[in-house]
Homo-oligomer: 338 residues x 2
Amino acid sequence: MADFKHHIDLPVVAFTLGDINGVGPEILALALNSQSLRTRLRPIIFGDPDVFRDACRLVGIPSPEIETVAGPNAVRHSRSLAFIESASAVPPRRPGKLDPEAGRCAMEWLAAAVDAAMDGHVDAIVTCPINKEGIHSAGYTCRGHTDFIADRTKSPSYRMALFAGAMRAVHHSDHVSLRGALDCITKESIVETIRITHAGLARLGIERPRIAVAGLNPHAGENGAFGMEEIQVILPAIEESVRDGIACSGPYPADTVFRRMRFDAVVAMYHDQGHGPMKLIAMDEGVNVTLGIPIVRTSPDHGTAYDIAGSGTARPDSMIAAALLAVRLAAHRIEALT
Amino acid sequence: MADFKHHIDLPVVAFTLGDINGVGPEILALALNSQSLRTRLRPIIFGDPDVFRDACRLVGIPSPEIETVAGPNAVRHSRSLAFIESASAVPPRRPGKLDPEAGRCAMEWLAAAVDAAMDGHVDAIVTCPINKEGIHSAGYTCRGHTDFIADRTKSPSYRMALFAGAMRAVHHSDHVSLRGALDCITKESIVETIRITHAGLARLGIERPRIAVAGLNPHAGENGAFGMEEIQVILPAIEESVRDGIACSGPYPADTVFRRMRFDAVVAMYHDQGHGPMKLIAMDEGVNVTLGIPIVRTSPDHGTAYDIAGSGTARPDSMIAAALLAVRLAAHRIEALT
C-alpha cells in the first residue's frame, strides 16, 4: 500500500473498524488499497492500527504508513493513514469469536465517528459490520448501527435503504416483526418515508426522482380483495406526496415492482419486501444507506461473517461500493452547504 | 403449423384457452407451434377453434388442421388438433376488453378440463390466463383458477408454487391479505405445506428433495428479537417434518434463502416472500404449479396482459415452460400409477 497523498479537495470519509473479530478489518484493508477509492477520498479510520496491520497481512497487501491522530482535523494535513483510537483497551483479535470487549470498542469508534461527522470534521462515515450479540453483551441496548446513529444524531425519522447501482429500495420499517411492520402502516408515516426517499435521491444529484411505492398485500390488494391498506392508507399517502410535488406513483404489486426499471427507487412497506429482491439484484455490491439523518452514512450490505473472518477470503466489493456511494452523497452534501 | 402426428406414448395435455380477450390464445398458438412441445405431448384444447385460428393469424403462423371432438378420449386417435367446445356461445374476440361472456366460457372450459383430468382422460392440464373481474361478473365466486380447481377436485390442502428451472418456491398462503397470512402461521399447517412440497418434488423425480423453510420475520426473527413465530411455530414444524423423514431445514432469513442454491425448493411463508425473488429469478420462464391436488396442473406465471392482447407480441416462454413442466410431472404421475 503506497503512502496516502491526500488532496485537499477530496472528501474526508471516516471508516469505523466495527467488530474486530468479523471480516471488517480485512475488507477495509482491501478496499482502501483499491485504486478506485485511493483517488476519490481521504480516509480516516476509527479503530485499532494493530488490528488493521494484521488484516493487511492476512489479505496479502503491504500495510500503509499509519499515524494515530488525536482528532479528525489532523487527517487534512497527514500523508499517512490516520487512525483515531478508542478509550477502551482493544482486546486481541480472535476472528469468529464473540467478545464483549470487541463490541465495546466497536461502539466507541462508531460514537466518535458520528460525532466527528456531526461536527463537520468528516464528510461521511462508512461502517464495518458489528455483531449485535456482542454489543448487547457489552451493555448497549440499540438494535444495531442504524438506530444508534439515529439516536445520537437526534433523528426520529430515519429510514434504512439498500442501494445497488440504479436499483434502490427504501424501507418503511426495518427491524421489527412482520406483525409490528403492519402496525407501522399509517398515512402520515408513509408520507414521511416518501419525503425522506425523495430527499435522499435529490442528495444523489438525481433531478426530479421517480419513486415507485409498493403495495403491502399480494397483488397490491387487488382492488381490496386481499386487504384494504392500499386503498385506505397507501394510495392517500401517495396522492398527498404528489400534491407536495414529489414524482411518486403506486401502489404497485411488490412482486413485480423491482422489474420496472423506470424508477429511481422503490419504497418498500417492510424489511423483506425490499431486501428479498434487492439482495438478488445486488449480489455482492449492495450498499446499506441510512436516510433521514443529518450526516452521510453507508455500510456494506452484509454482517460480520464470522465463518470466514480471519481467512483473508472476504470480498471487499460491498465495502468499496459503500465508500463510493458515501463519496457521491458527500459531494452533493458539500455542494448544498456551500 | 404441420399436422399433429401424435404418438400414442406421449402424455395427453389439456390446454384451456382462458380469457379469449387476453393473450392466452396467442401464446398458446405460438407454444403449440414450437418444436419443443410438438415432440413431447399430445395437446387437446378446451376452447374455441375460431379464436385459436384467429390467434394463429395474429402471431403469423399457419393454423393447423383442427377437429372438434365430443370427448377427450378422441384425441388419442386424432391426427388433427383436437378441440372441446363450451356449452355457452363464444362471444366475438375483442382483445383487451372485459367481457362476462368470455369469463363464462373460460370457466366452462376449465371445469371440463379438470373433469377430464379427474377421469383420467388427460394426463395434465395447462391453463391460459383468466381475468378475475371477468369471471366474477359472470357470476363465479372463486378467487381464481387455483381455488376453483382445488374445490372441484375436493382438495382442501392445496398450495401455490412457482417453479423456474431448479429454483422453486411453494407458498404457505397465497391470495389473502398480509394480515391474513400471519393468521395462517400454525405448526400443523406448516407441517402440511412441507409435506405437500416434498410430495411435489418427489413427483418431479427428485430423490430425497432438500427443502429450505423461510422465516416469517426480518432475519428470521433474529433469535426472537424481531418476532417469535420462528421459535414457537416454524422451527417445531421443521423438526416434526424431519422426524417424518423429510430433508428440510431452517427457518432461514427470507432475504437470502433464494441465494442458497443447495435446495430443491423454498417454502415461503406468504405470497410476496416467494413471488418477489422468484419473479426476478424466473424472468419470463416462471411456471405456476398447483400442489396438493390429485391432478397435474400448471400455468404460465402471468395474467391476461390486456395491454398487449391482440397485438401478436406476447412471448410464449412461460407457456412453453408450463407445458414442459406439466409433461414432466405427468410422466412421474403415470409411472406412479402403473
